[in-house]
């Protein structure tokens, strides 16, 4: 596909080859995608309420071509992660992300989704959704006001404007790998990390047994 776009089939000066057509096409293509970003209807926590307010009459993100919030990931372009991501929830979020068709974007709304937020120290809280899925825009705030969210979405549109068909990942030759879904073990586990988890747990066992052994020897 990208091969075809690079060779338009009529004469253009060699120094401009592959540029004129591509850039204008990029513009149209980006404009099209940027103006019809359909968010996934998916609120996680407090920030989700502000997202609903943004969708409602006062702020109304339909003005940016986002009027249809899709409850199905298969029909949506942008996932607004609006709220605290917990360990119990992250497998579902990764699954939803995998189910979204390319091109897809992720907005981390609020302190929690960006980096853990006020609940970061909690045992069930993930320190930012970007530990598991790639994030395009981060919006600080707890919660970001609807206008701050709009500002973030505009930032996302600007980012889309800068993309080029040649480079975007969904037109590359290699297939895009799905992100492995984390497993709920004694704690959340990334399947890619099994080896290091075992190593860590073994190391812990050894250090525990050696520290337990030392006082016993001393006593003897």
């Amino acid at each position: 596909m990208s091969e075809e776009l690079n060779t338009p089939g009529y004469e253009i000066p060699p120094e401009m080859q592959g540029q004129v057509a591509i850039t204008t096409l990029d513009k149209i293509y980006n404009w099209g995608r940027r103006s019809s970003l359909w968010p996934l209807m998916f609120g996680l926590a407090c920030c989700g309420i502000e997202m609903i307010c943004t969708a409602a009459s006062r702020f109304d993100f339909a003005r940016f071509g986002m009027e249809v919030m899709r409850p199905s990931p298969r029909q949506s372009d942008v996932m607004i992660v609006s709220g605290t991501v917990t360990k119990k929830m992250i497998p579902q979020i990764v699954r939803l992300y995998n189910q979204m068709p390319e091109p897809k974007y992720v907005v981390a709304m609020g302190a929690c989704a960006s980096g853990g937020g006020p609940f970061k120290e909690g045992y069930n809280v993930v320190s930012g959704v970007d530990k598991y899925i790639p994030v395009d825009v981060y919006i600080p705030g707890c919660p970001p006001t609807p206008q701050a969210l709009l500002n973030g979405l505009i930032a996302l549109q600007k980012k889309i404007d800068k993309q080029s068909i040649k480079e975007v990942r969904w037109y590359q030759k290699e297939p895009i790998e799905a992100i492995p879904i984390p497993v709920l073990g004694p704690d959340i586990m990334d399947p890619r990390e099994y080896a290091s988890i075992r190593e860590y747990a073994q190391g812990k066992l050894e250090s525990e047994s050696s520290s337990a052994a030392v006082p016993a020897e001393e006593a003897a």
């Binding site: 996680l44 926590a45 407090c46 307010c53 609940f119 120290e121 909690g122 004694p186 988890i197 747990a201």
Partner: protein, 580 residues
């Protein structure tokens, strides 16, 4: 304490000598009951003394004494103050008898205590983990359980000042994530529970075909945690026979943010902004309950003007919450978005007031111990006046005209999802859910707090206990709230808004307190234990959204699957509070 409760208390000790002893610890109230006799005593209390409403069940870990305590708060559904019972059990083999046979409302709360404290409830029909997942290592609320990012037992942390050096907690973790694994754990051999134990409890039946009839099989359907109608990350697992629900299990914990564990590390004041994030639609009410609980311990009372400001803010919260709930209930019924948009418009105007007063639209953090954070800025009083005297009554009437007689709402709502008064009390339902079932129990009247005695208002009550009545009762309550607001705005005196100087280190004497308010969703209670240190020893939230889910199954069984969505909508839950 009323006279009646004193009589009951005196007879309790004489009727159960040695089984029931008074809790003599300083600052504590109630009775300690021998665990083995617990069921017997509470059955008596329920049947003979009228304590028919079990409000809260929670565990407390007394690590230094090596024991666990389960604390029960009992009430009469006719009103009055609490009877506090405690059962103690050793830490290592913590086990007490389950109260589910006596009060079915204990079901979810006991599961929570099992999950977080590892207290085994003997005789519980379905004792599984509830907020964490099956297979999680340890019981996280135990005092000696430490999370991956553990720093210190109490805030403020020493690393922040004076020789701070900025770092992110994940950079110090081996995996650069908030994870930790038990020693010797091998992920390759791990078999995740999945939801095996959950599905096992659903009891599916396969009916073979006989003669002319077709064979049927029940199917299990998962709704959520990402589902447009579950109001957040809530999940229902339903077994269906055709389209009829035969069993339903609520699954939660997808937003479990460890509120209580963090709360026990915070200082008393630091918990205030965290309470905002419980029921994030009504942060002012959350502040209210917590302030009451701690003020009870501290023995302070806010000045007059602060009391009025508190009531005004709490009632505004109720209005904004109820119209939001109505909007979303209609969403669930298929009136997609229009009623919600109308409701959100009024809510925005209320939020404008919150924002002007407290600085934030949702996370108000407005209450302080012994007062409120700041007085009304200029011009806000006028705005409040116009809103409560003119605009809101008009708009509520419009909403009424718009929806109440709508034939679709009536036919979807009337007679669906019925909860009888007896069931409602037994299952510890509270708030609009309880009152729509014909039990006129409103804490503002039944056990008055703050200055609610002064206001003239009626406890809204409806008698059918179906979805439609739960819709109607919200309209009624908004109207009553407007009445309260009008009186409060009229009578609000001038004066100080804070008792004493504002302080960030409050001194809280040792003891326990249970502060409860009638939140928009029901009884919101805070159980706080202080041991004289700057941070609470135990901080528990009795969340109405959580407890109100206990009767979800009995309301849904027998109805169609599409109704379960509407029934859930009519309970009006907020996940921040359900999962905490």
């Amino acid at each position: 304490m009323s006279e009646l409760t004193t009589i009951v208390e005196n007879t309790l000790e004489t009727r159960f000598p040695e089984v029931v002893v008074r809790d003599e610890r300083k600052g504590y109230e109630g009775f300690i009951i021998q665990a083995e006799k617990l069921v017997e005593v509470v059955t008596k209390l329920r049947d003979d003394f009228g304590y028919d409403y079990l409000s809260s069940v929670t565990g407390v870990d007394y690590l230094p004494e090596g024991k666990m305590e389960v604390v029960y708060h009992l009430y009469k559904s006719t009103g009055g103050s609490a009877l506090v019972l405690k059962a103690q059990t050793p830490r290592e083999v913590a086990s007490v008898p389950s109260l589910v046979p006596v009060y079915p409302g204990a079901e979810l709360q006991e599961r929570e205590a099992w999950d977080l404290y590892g207290i085994h409830f003997e005789g519980h029909p379905d004792l599984r983990r509830i907020l964490m997942w099956e297979g999680f290592h340890g019981h996280p609320m135990r005092k000696d359980w430490q999370e991956a990012y553990y720093e210190e037992d109490s805030k403020p942390y020493k690393s922040r000042w004076p020789d701070g050096e900025v770092w992110r907690s994940e950079d110090k973790n081996t995996f650069h994530k908030n994870v930790d694994y038990p020693a010797g754990f091998d992920p390759e051999t791990w078999v995740p529970d999945g939801d095996a134990s959950l599905y096992a409890g659903l009891g599916r039946v396969v009916k073979p075909g006989n003669g002319g009839g077709l064979g049927t099989e029940q199917v299990v359907v998962n709704m959520g945690p990402q589902h447009p109608s579950t109001h957040g990350v809530f999940r229902m697992v339903v077994t269906l026979d055709g389209e009829t629900i035969t069993a339903l299990k609520p699954v939660m914990g997808y937003l479990h943010r460890n509120h209580e564990k963090i709360g026990e590390r915070n200082t008393f004041l630091q918990n205030m902004p965290f309470t905002d994030r419980l029921d994030y639609l009504s942060s002012m009410s959350n502040n209210f309950g917590y302030a009451l609980a701690v003020e009870k311990l501290m023995g302070v009372k806010p000045p007059e003007r602060a009391e009025y400001l508190r009531v005004i803010m709490a009632e505004f919260t109720r209005i904004s919450n109820h119209i939001w709930a109505i909007g979303f209930l209609l969403n669930d019924l298929g009136a997609y978005f229009t009623p919600m948009l109308y409701a959100v418009e009024e809510r925005e105007l209320i939020l404008d007031i919150f924002e002007a007063v407290s600085g934030s639209r949702m996370m108000c953090n407005y209450f302080r111990f012994g007062g409120v954070a700041r007085d009304l800025p200029e011009g806000v009083y006028e705005k409040i006046r116009k809103l409560v005297y003119d605009r809101l009554p008009r708009k509520i009437d419009e909403l009424d005209l718009y929806l109440t007689n709508n034939e679709i709402l009536r036919s979807r709502g009337e007679g669906v999802g019925i909860l009888t008064p007896d069931q409602a009390i037994a299952y510890s339902a509270s708030g609009p859910l309880l009152r729509a079932s014909g039990v006129p129990y409103d804490i503002r009247r039944a056990d008055p707090y703050s200055i609610y005695e002064r206001f003239d208002f009626d406890v809204a009550v409806r008698y059918h206990g179906d979805i439609y009545d739960r819709y109607m009762i919200r309209l009624d309550e908004v109207r009553q709230s407007l009445r309260i607001l009008q009186q409060a705005v009229r009578d609000m005196p001038e004066g100080p808004i804070q008792e004493g100087k504002p302080q960030y280190q409050v001194r809280v004497p040792p003891g326990e307190a249970y502060g409860r308010v009638e939140g928009p969703k029901g009884e919101l209670g805070y159980y706080v234990i202080s041991n004289g240190k700057p941070n609470p020893w135990r901080y528990h939230v009795r969340a109405p959204s959580f407890v109100n889910l206990t009767p979800l199954e009995i309301m849904c069984v027998g109805n169609k699957v599409a109704d379960s969505v509407a029934i859930l909508g009519s309970i009006d839950i907020v996940l921040g509070e359900t999962d905490r």
